[in-house]
Symmetry: C2
Subunit: 442 residues, 2 copies
């Protein structure tokens, strides 16, 4: 067949970039598990009626049908999940009897959206979500914990792999709603929707929308815009809000909730989290703290990690499951950094050593050397052909393998970068730790 | 919404079983990388025309469409991949210029088949494939290497996790074809198809099919059935075949190829691989060695790991890519063992320690203890509520967490299984290694 072309919106990695992605996933899994989050995976499909419950997203769903589905096929119509929250909510309801609450889970899986592809938008992409879900109640301190766990993971990606540092912007829906209600506004959601455009259109245009579109008076609109302009890396935002002179119980609750997040973050991951009172998050199920996260220096990528508190993730009529969660867009984070050459692997193959083959008759000797090295955790491969040694070295070089082994178990090993060749025993020799596995260069 | 029901054929795990699966995947990845296989992932979808090239499989494909695809949508129709070989062949053609050959890759991903669900058949399941692919040529010794790598992985699953041991049954298409041609039979594929039913219908019925269905004479049919009856854990099968008195060059080539696999396996993973001359493998693209693998004691599950040699995995008209590969059905292997209670996790949460909370005002202290433990790699979580200690201990017990920490960084830690409680410092204390992470019980 002719050479196939990529399908727009379905990114794929060459092996080197996949090795980088695996390092990222390994750090995420490790961090989440250190915090007691248990892993789950859900099937790729959900019943279409579940996926289309939120009206605005249904045009992005991929429908899945058997090619030769019988006309009398009574199986529900299925679609690919477009996030990990809808399947998780279903999973919690389905398995509630087998889970201990508050249930802490992480989930790292592909999701699919039938969007028109454009920069930073994908039709298939990888997400990593953590959520904590309670049965009927869930203490507020989890609103503090969830973003700190994600920030810890992102900080490790920064220090261990060289991913740029992040800035998490946090708000609290109660704070905004209480403030608006304190101003005598009846439709806080309407205000939130318009304030959500602040970064795109600026404060004056938002003020205009509030007055013209919602009929707020100039004083109300001005107060809303001034609230949206408040941000601080510490709890000084409280004073700034107080200075606007609005009083409301829900506002107080929101201020206190947000202050707790900011104070804890300042102690644990200083400089990475700010209170930002214009963060709204479009989705309507958030009811408390909301998070957005940008990469410092790459703000135009938009938010790479978002989430918040929802008082009802799921409900079966008798029991309600409140939750708080945050999701990391792994593909969205990695693809632009890889394209910019900012996340590169030291070599695109796991092998640290190529074991050379003298002659096809002695391939067994080379395989024994390889087995001895692997037994001590050294990735290696045996040369595909008993070519002249120069050609075998070239083969290693082309693959990025740093060492070539000659002879038997007691033999010689050559660092093909420096040309140094030394006697070595396959049951004792170790490469430098930095060469053992492919590493992310930064 | 009412409690959702599982969708038949789409298995999902509770967190404990997912932890088992993760351990399995970690061992697979580690083994494959020690042997120099690089990881790739391909998108979940391929153009339908690629997926339906093999006529017999097209009814099993899931078609994927955007819910509101425009009538003038010129994008190719897409389907979910039903294996990892078709996408890999496409990936090799698409990226040949960026890969070093022989290219060694592993790939662990879900695949989908729109089959009628029945025991051991899934509509969504996880596969783990390794393949070695050459450009124009690929030496035969890779036919020996590929099954040994998979056997090494399966042996680690056996010794480290308690998965039952395996028996890999190996044949060589050249051996069978050469034998049939040496008997003067013109349609070796026809014979192979019928011999493939040997295990199901027995030798006499196969003999009948060969005589009645293909017009072989009694002597030819008898020789074919006798060939199919030969198996040996060493290279003694050669003598058994020779005793049938057939001479053919391709037969000799096949005998030698199979003997190499058997001899290498006997040295490296004794007792796990047998030459079995009735293994045929249905798919028609295999051209040399073929592998099937059953779990000892669970033979009725069928083959959990299969593969073989193909002289043309892919071709762009100018270059041909021969390969050899073997695939492990992870879901197919794990689900029945889990259902039978043979693979259980020591606890369904990562946390080794629950840090108790004295009072909500001192939650910060508990969080500091948790941070100190995590800094040394100990998974832990902080109690959700400052309940009475008895209730907090019950909470840990319900989740399977073995230790509860009381007090601050210098505090006390209780093994809730034995009841032993000792003074401990969070910057020094370690749980026993066997309690650090959830482990698979066997």
């Amino acid at each position: 067949m002719p050479r196939p072309k990529p399908i727009s919106g379905f990114p794929e990695f060459l092996p080197g970039d996949r090795l980088v992605e695996q390092r990222v996933l390994s750090i995420l899994r490790d961090t989440f598990e250190l915090h007691g989050f248990a892993p789950i995976e859900t099937r790729a499909v959900e019943p279409m009626e579940q996926l289309t419950r939120k009206g605005e997203i249904d045009k992005e769903v991929y429908v899945v049908r058997r090619l030769h589905a019988a006309a009398d096929d009574t199986v529900d119509e299925l679609g690919l999940h477009f996030d990990l929250t809808v399947p998780f909510a279903r999973y919690v309801l389905e398995n509630a009897g087998h889970l201990a609450f508050p249930f802490r889970r992480y989930q790292i899986q592909k999701v699919w959206r039938g969007e028109r592809p454009q920069e930073g938008r994908y039709r298939e992409f990888l997400q990593a979500d953590i959520d904590i879900v309670g049965q009927d109640t869930l203490p507020d301190h989890f609103d503090v914990e969830a973003p700190l766990v994600m920030l810890e993971a992102l900080e490790r990606l920064h220090t261990e792999l060289g991913v740029p540092p992040v800035r998490m912007r946090v708000n609290n829906r109660k704070l905004s709603e209480g403030f608006y209600r304190g101003l005598g506004i009846d439709d806080p959601d309407g205000v939130l929707q318009r304030v959500d455009k602040y970064d795109k259109i600026g404060p004056d245009a938002v003020r205009g929308l509030l007055v013209d579109g919602m009929g707020l008076d100039a004083g109300q609109a001005d107060a809303c815009v001034r609230l949206a302009g408040i941000s601080s890396p510490d709890d000084s935002f409280i004073g700034d809000v107080r200075a606007l002179g609005v009083r409301n119980d829900l506002l107080d609750e929101g201020l206190e909730g947000l202050a707790r997040v900011v104070r804890a973050a300042a102690a644990q991951v200083p400089g990475r989290l700010v209170a930002d009172l214009r963060i709204a998050r479009g989705l309507d199920y958030y009811t408390g703290t909301v998070y957005e996260t940008e990469l410092v220096g790459h703000e135009r990528l938009g938010s790479v990690s978002s989430g918040g508190r929802y008082d009802s993730l799921a409900s079966d009529g008798r029991t309600t499951f409140p939750g708080v969660g945050i999701s990391l867009g792994v593909t969205r984070l990695l693809v632009p950094l890889m394209a910019a050459g900012q996340l590169r692997i030291s070599r695109p193959v796991p092998s640290a050593v190529l074991v050379a083959v003298d002659a096809e008759e002695t391939r067994d000797v080379a395989m024994q050397v390889a087995a001895a090295l692997r037994a001590r955790g050294i990735p290696c491969e045996v040369a595909p052909r008993a070519d002249k040694f120069g050609k075998q070295i070239k083969y290693a070089d082309r693959r990025g393998i740093p060492f070539v082994w000659f002879g038997g178990t007691p033999g010689e090993v050559k660092d093909i970068r420096s040309g140094d060749q030394v006697g070595a025993d396959a049951s004792e020799w170790m490469p430098p730790a930095s060469d053992l596995r492919p590493s992310v260069l930064h």
